[in-house]
């Protein structure tokens, strides 16, 4: 019963969002397919940010508002370091920086606030957000920087024998997807097969039980924040390579919040699926829902994608607050 509801919602959503434009014949199927792909690619990026989010929430119960700022910080670090050294060295340095950051956050933010309620922790990560935004721009500068990943810019034409006009795909989008898949695979292996991964899962299940069988909670937090930092680097590099490293990344990365609402706070597959749904949904809404809406209400332009994800998540909260794949929470007194 419970497992049918999300499937039904998902199905209804997909039917409404994906098939409707096709069925009404608004545009050529090739164009529709292109929008779908664009949405999926954007969704991969959201998934990457959401992933870092879910990891931290699972292991430490902290709703990490700062994940977006971590992405920006990591991207800035890589971009500026890569000006002085080869890209691989910059990436290694960035990983080191994010690990140090994890240590600092654990020591100075999480440990003093242990046992506080979730809202206080959320506000503490708001403080981390402020700090990282200011600190990152002070030491790395606040202009727009480029990360050159060495991928050609020209899009590739595929499927031109299936659709008229074919479908354009960017090479960096494909690379991003591949990297994301590898990352998720590696994380899954790490969580399932290594001793540390098992400890992480144990902490996620029950802090006290984990601690009582001798799992060092503090070290686990550092590890998890470090992993989230590495995920932030991947997200930041891909994003920065695509759009340039700039302050707006940290705002766009906030879209990871609706993603985790949709997917469920504690579910890694949820982060991926949620990201894809949000990515596709908002692109579809922008392209197919936007123009009629603008025309009907006489608006000064579209831009639905700025809020579509949030409102979708908010409406979704009414139906299924724990998300598609999250665990149902029961309040006990």
């Amino acid at each position: 019963m419970t497992s049918k509801i999300p499937v039904a919602i998902l199905g209804a959503f997909l039917a409404a969002g994906l098939v409707a434009p096709l069925a009404t014949g608004v545009s050529a199927p090739g164009f529709w397919f292109e929008v779908l792909l664009g949405g999926l690619m954007a969704g991969v990026l959201y998934s990457l940010v959401a992933l870092g989010f879910v990891l931290i929430f699972k292991a430490s119960g902290v709703f990490n508002f700062a994940q977006g700022s971590m992405v920006l910080f990591a991207a800035l670090a890589v971009a500026r370091l890569a000006e002085r050294m080869p890209l691989w060295a910059a990436l290694i340095c960035a990983v080191a920086i994010m690990v140090v950051l994890a240590f600092v956050v654990e020591r100075l933010v999480l440990r003093p606030l242990v046992n506080q309620d979730a809202v206080a922790l959320l506000m503490a990560t708001l403080g981390v957000t402020y700090f990282l935004d200011g600190f990152g721009q002070t030491i790395w500068g606040s202009d727009i920087y480029e990360i050159n990943l060495g991928i050609k810019r020209e899009p590739v034409m595929v499927l031109d024998n299936v659709f008229q006009g074919g479908v354009l795909i960017n090479r960096d989008d494909v690379a991003a997807t591949v990297v994301a898949v590898i990352l998720v695979g590696a994380l899954a292996l790490f969580f399932q097969k290594t001793k540390t991964g098992r400890a992480l899962r144990a902490v996620a299940d029950d802090h006290q039980a984990a601690q009582s069988i001798g799992i060092p909670l503090n070290r686990i937090w550092v590890i998890v924040w470090s992993i989230a930092g590495v995920v932030a680097i991947v997200g930041g590099v891909i994003w920065g390579g695509k759009l340039g490293v700039q302050f707006s990344i940290s705002q766009v990365a906030l879209k990871a919040l609706p993603v985790v609402i949709l997917g469920g706070f504690t579910s890694v597959p949820g982060a991926i699926v949620g990201g894809l749904i949000i990515g596709v949904g908002e692109k579809m809404a922008e392209v197919f829902l936007g123009p009629p809406l603008v025309k009907a209400l006489d608006l000064a332009g579209g831009g639905i994608e700025n809020w579509f994800a949030y409102v979708l998540a908010m409406l979704f909260l009414f139906v299924r607050p724990e998300g598609l794949f999250g665990e149902r929470r029961i309040d006990r007194v």
Binding site: A118, F131, L299, G301, G303, N306
Partner: protein
């Protein structure tokens, strides 16, 4: 200390329930209000008014509003600047379309519009709490931002909203001193209102909900009533503050005047100032207004140059550090520090 409060006995319930039960406090408060109304207008410079005092007064009002929701009712909101925006645009349209209305009426109506919108976005709070609610209010922020920017009717088909100067009973609120007096009066009224709300039935319902919602329900507080009134009243305050921010402080504003940054700043104010404290809203807003100016001045005084960009980044960093520090060391903020200091001074020089 300098005064002793012993010997002041309360013989009626009225005396027991007054806002400031101690005579010296009443004298101090009366003196402060008299000072603010009678002395400050003659002493302060226009610069001081425009860059410090006027933003302080309006932000205090908004922070009180947010504090009613976050500090008293325990419902987090990351989208309160949007409700300020609703108030501002509502007031703008009321002035534009019904020019015969008195500005005070406009303010109250704008507050009601903001309250209605706030309650609409507060509905998710009935089902979800804490973190989830944060995202729902974020939805309000981004959706309303978009509405302000895109719906041309709201700004009367102009790119930005530029209302005429405020007029009250034939008295134009245009000079800094007049703005100051007007805002001070509004803030005073709303402070009294908030003070009385939180110690009355409704405020106690909010606090019970904040402390433990299940227990509150058990003792007969309807969560729908408590949460939605908190959203409504809080948005009302913010709506009025937003209208004042637009009309009196900014004069003319772009849709981005009420963006996420302002929402986060309001949260910062109540964390630093003290959650669940009206006085805290004053402290937080004052801190928020003064700190950037200090940061811009201090390096110059110490004799080294700092670019404006560095100063603003430094400011953001300090905000972040302070949030974490206060949450870890004094979760009740500056208001609590003030109370502790006052308690110490009451007994000084004796230890107890």
């Amino acid at each position: 200390m300098f005064f002793r409060e012993n010997g002041q006995f309360k013989s009626t319930y009225r005396a027991d329930q007054q806002l400031l039960p101690i005579l010296q406090d009443r004298v101090f408060m009366a003196g402060l209000v008299a000072f603010a109304f009678l002395v400050v207008p003659f002493v302060a410079s226009d610069y001081l008014f425009l860059s410090l005092v006027i933003p302080f007064l309006i932000l205090t009002l908004a922070a009180i509003g947010l504090n009613l929701l976050v500090g008293y009712c325990g419902q987090i909101s990351i989208g309160h600047a949007a409700f300020m925006g609703v108030g501002a645009y509502a007031a703008y349209n009321l002035v534009l379309r019904l020019p015969f209305l008195n500005f005070l009426v406009v303010l109250v109506l704008a507050g009601f519009v903001a309250a209605a919108v706030g309650m609409l976005f507060g509905i998710p709070s009935l089902r979800i709490k804490g973190l989830y609610l944060g995202v729902a209010t974020l939805a309000a922020q981004f959706f309303l931002d978009w509405v302000f920017a895109r719906v041309k009717w709201l700004t009367n088909y102009a790119p930005s909203a530029s209302p005429p100067p405020v007029e009250l009973f034939g008295w134009t609120v245009d000079t800094p001193v007049r703005k100051y007096l007007f805002l001070l009066s509004v803030l005073l009224v709303f402070t009294l209102l908030a003070k009385n709300l939180v110690r009355g039935h409704i405020g106690r319902a909010w606090m019970a909900t904040r402390d433990m919602d299940v227990a509150a329900e058990v003792i007969g507080i309807r969560p729908i009533y408590a949460k939605l009134t908190a959203f409504g009243v809080s948005s009302f305050f913010c709506g009025v503050a937003g209208a004042l921010w637009g009309f009196v402080h900014l004069g003319a504003w772009e849709p981005l005047a009420f963006d996420l940054n302002l929402s986060l700043s309001l949260l910062f104010m109540i964390i630093i100032g003290g959650m669940g404290s009206i006085l805290g809203a004053y402290f937080g807003a004052a801190f928020f207004v003064v700190l950037p100016i200090l940061l811009n001045r201090i390096p110059g005084m110490l004799g080294f140059e700092m670019s404006t960009a560095t100063a603003s980044h430094l400011e953001v960093m300090i905000f972040g550090v302070l949030i974490v520090l206060f949450l870890a060391l004094e979760p009740h903020g500056l208001a609590r520090l003030w109370a502790i200091g006052k308690q110490k001074l009451r007994l000084w020089p004796f230890p107890y």
